[in-house]
């Protein structure tokens, strides 16, 4: 079932989707980014690291097909290929669900490493959907990452938590611990962006957020009813009907794989913005 070949010869890239704060859109973003990569023919798996609070399967719409999970694999009760669920819509997309009944102590660093190493051989992209917080589960989700997407809302507590997470990415990860390793490449994904509230001065602007976090911007996802609708029906945003949110995620995916796409705010291209933002954070 995982016989499809990966597109690239090199080992797969591990990307953690993290935020510190809960409710900012990590799981929605993991599903959308994973589906977006898979749509481009890249073999992609999305892993749910939120042990005990399984949600990725609901957002991806495969909750009724979960037999074995990540924890079964780590504990040797199932083979990895038995636990991987292949998406019914995009055949290069897979989900590795977590357990709803165990607790986070079931994750071990060695176990996570073994699973990720096996997945690197099979997949182009491994997307790790981190739990909220900065405790063990979140630290394990980021530990082996090559890149990080820090999901942030334009709001003070979210920005502060993101800053804290950026600090952990630079200090509590494998790449931080290894002498001479390139540090994790971290980018900010602004979600729940509400232009009207920003214009009224109720929310922080993109410039404000980037100035504080001092890392590149991966994309700006507008607050959109399409996001809620997509999770209601269990379809990743980018596989649902086109919307400003799905366009924003598609653009973010393009940037993630190294394409240069001009920044779009609320569906409109903002030619000047990208240059200004990247000029600042380069």
């Amino acid at each position: 079932m995982t016989s499809q070949l990966k597109k690239e010869d090199s080992v797969g890239k591990v990307i953690v989707i993290t935020s510190g704060k809960g409710g900012v859109g990590k799981t929605t973003s993991s599903a959308a980014i994973g589906a977006g990569l898979a749509k481009r023919g890249l073999k992609t798996v999305v892993i749910d690291f939120d042990v005990g609070l399984r949600n990725l399967d609901m957002i991806m719409g495969c909750e009724r097909r979960v037999v074995y999970d990540f924890i079964n694999v780590i504990q040797g009760e199932a083979k990895l290929k038995q636990a991987l669920i292949r998406d019914k819509r995009v055949d290069t997309l897979y989900v590795l669900p977590t357990s709803q009944t165990r607790d986070k102590d079931a994750l071990t660093q060695e176990g996570v490493e073994a699973v990720l190493n096996e997945l690197r051989e099979e997949f182009d992209y491994i997307i790790c959907d981190s739990p909220a917080g900065i405790e063990r589960g979140a630290q394990l989700a980021m530990y082996f990452a090559d890149e990080a997407v820090v999901v942030t809302n334009p709001e003070v507590s979210s920005v502060r938590d993101s800053d804290r997470v950026l600090g952990l990415l630079n200090s509590k990860t494998k790449r931080a611990a290894e002498e001479g390793a390139e540090p994790i490449k971290a980018q900010v994904l602004l979600t729940r962006y509400d232009k009207a509230r920003i214009e009224k001065g109720e929310m922080m602007t993109v410039e404000d957020v980037l100035e504080i976090l001092a890392v590149p911007l991966l994309g700006i996802v507008p607050e959109s009813p399409a996001v809620l609708k997509a999770s209601n029906v269990g379809v990743p945003v980018v596989l649902d009907e086109p919307s400003a949110a799905s366009q924003a995620y598609e653009d973010a995916v393009s940037r993630l794989i190294g394409e240069v796409v001009e920044m779009r705010v609320d569906g409109e291209r903002k030619p000047g913005l990208l240059r200004r933002l990247f000029g600042r954070s380069a």
Binding site: R160, R164, L166, G167, N170, I212, A214
Partner: protein
């Protein structure tokens, strides 16, 4: 009454067994040097005054009693009383140093341990003597940080100056024995002269700090003039006042 700063760091080296873990812990304690006889009301009044000036530095600080200058403090009940009165002030005395044999026996009776390791920091030298010191000390190595200091991170320059060439986020902490220079925006806390150097200064390119402190005297963002926010400033001690002034 010289008091050292109490900053705390951990060095963890787990030596594991099945039922518990042992971890090494490094921390800085406050040494308190009573002078003369058994501490009296005047002693505690002076102590209270000092504590009021810098409450955050001493809250629940571990304390070592240095008995060198207090030969008369040699009875168990007197020591017990000192420990109790310190505890009332949220100072936790746990050991003694420089004790004479009789004092040591009394201290052990009072539940205090003998501390023989560790180095005292320069503040042990009373200020009047420091002025007369002839030779200037050799320049101390500082620390230069080039990446952003994030919320929750603490950067400590044990010796010399701390130079940060990147922004310092809200919720981050900078601690230096000497001066602190921040060339990015300073949004977190900066504590210069952490071991009591009253000549230390803080310089920053854009002030949005939550707290500035020099040798234990501090000001929070509430007490900084609005006109200084976002400006290049320096903070320094003028007697017992922490001054913050625009640069240039």
């Amino acid at each position: 009454m010289p008091i050292q700063d109490a900053d705390e760091r951990e060095a963890q080296a787990p030596a594991t067994s099945t039922s518990f873990q042992l971890r090494g812990k490094l921390f800085t304690a406050v040494t308190l040097l009573p002078e003369g006889g058994v501490p009296d009301a005047a002693f505690y009044a002076a102590l209270d005054e000092q504590l009021q000036k810098t409450p955050q530095f001493f809250n629940n600080a571990p304390v070592i009693l240095d008995l060198q200058s207090a030969p008369a403090l040699a009875r168990t009940e007197d020591l017990r009383r000192v420990v109790d009165l310190l505890r009332e002030r949220k100072l936790s005395a746990f050991g003694v140093q420089n004790a004479r044999p009789a004092q040591l026996a009394a201290a052990q009776e009072a539940g205090l341990i003998s501390v023989t390791t560790g180095n005292d920091t320069p503040l042990r030298v009373p200020r009047s003597e420091k002025k007369g010191a002839a030779k200037p000390p050799p320049p101390k190595p500082g620390k230069i940080i080039t990446t952003p200091v994030r919320s929750g991170q603490t950067i400590i320059a044990d010796q010399g100056d701390l130079v940060v060439l990147a922004p310092v986020s809200s919720g981050a902490e900078l601690v230096a024995a000497g001066n602190i220079h921040v060339y990015g925006r300073l949004r977190g806390r900066a504590m210069a002269g952490a071991y009591g150097d009253t000549r230390a200064r803080i310089f920053c390119g854009k002030l949005e700090a939550e707290l500035l402190a020099v040798a234990g005297l501090y000001r929070t963002s509430d007490s900084l003039e609005d006109a200084l926010l976002g400006q290049g400033v320096q903070a320094f001690l003028d007697g017992n006042k922490l001054c913050v002034e625009a640069l240039g």
